[in-house]
Chain length 143, copies 2
């Protein structure tokens, strides 16, 4: 399961993607619209700013806005940033690999097999799923 932090991040990003190139949006606005505790959201947005996904502007008329293009931000990037690995096991993780103590021999470990498959499929789907994609779909459905 994704953490609340990650869910908040996704919702905030979608909100900003809907307002792409329309100037900075106050944290307060996002927090209220998406029902996210403001202070918690601050930390989340800051993290995404440091990751160069968002930019921000201080002072009056300031706020956050998307720096990357909506079609260049996918779920893989967000999940890895907020929650870490996509894989279900450390020993099959591409970005957060750790050997497992239990199985001596990774090559012959029958367990890894299934979880490598899950990882690959998940990555495939989640990397196709961009902010642009999500916003487009919502518009089509008339949100």
């Amino acid at each position: 399961m994704l953490s609340k932090k990650c869910k908040y991040a996704i919702h905030a990003l979608v909100y900003l993607a809907e307002r792409y190139q329309q100037g900075p949006v106050h944290i307060q606005d996002i927090a209220e619209a998406q029902h996210i505790p403001k202070k918690f959201l601050e930390a989340i947005l800051l993290e995404m700013r440091n990751a160069k996904i968002l930019h921000s502007k201080k002072g009056k008329g300031g706020g956050y806005y998307l720096y990357k293009k909506p079609e260049d931000v996918n779920m893989v990037e967000i999940i890895r940033l907020m929650d870490g690995a996509i894989s279900l096991l450390p020993c099959v993780s591409l970005n957060y690999y750790e050997p497992c103590e239990e199985c001596r021999n990774e090559v012959t470990c029958g367990i890894r097999d299934a979880f490598t498959g899950v990882r690959d499929e998940s990555l495939k789907i989640l990397s196709r799923s961009t902010l642009a994609h999500i916003v487009k779909r919502q518009r089509e459905l008339g949100k």
Copy 2:
């Protein structure tokens, strides 16, 4: 990521599957072979016994053994039992569904889409992955 509990459970089950129909196996044996804290393993095995995956025999010569056939125990069942939902979001979960507070309208929520896809693919792969399958693969690779 799967919890340690879940990983321990899978390793213990594979160990028992390798010894299917060869009589009860001591907790102690499993714990030592798989490097799992014995007391923790007790709780895990007990839970799987209550779920009718394992049976046990008390007293001298007792221990745990697979009740279900190795080909009838798949990763989906184990993960759900140990860690809960397979899905990444509660609002797309089949067995642990919860509405999400963030999105008013589930039908038009563009986010659910991607995560429904991930859920379906994960379920497909994990349900194909049985203990029999894992043991077979390990034998082929000459473990």
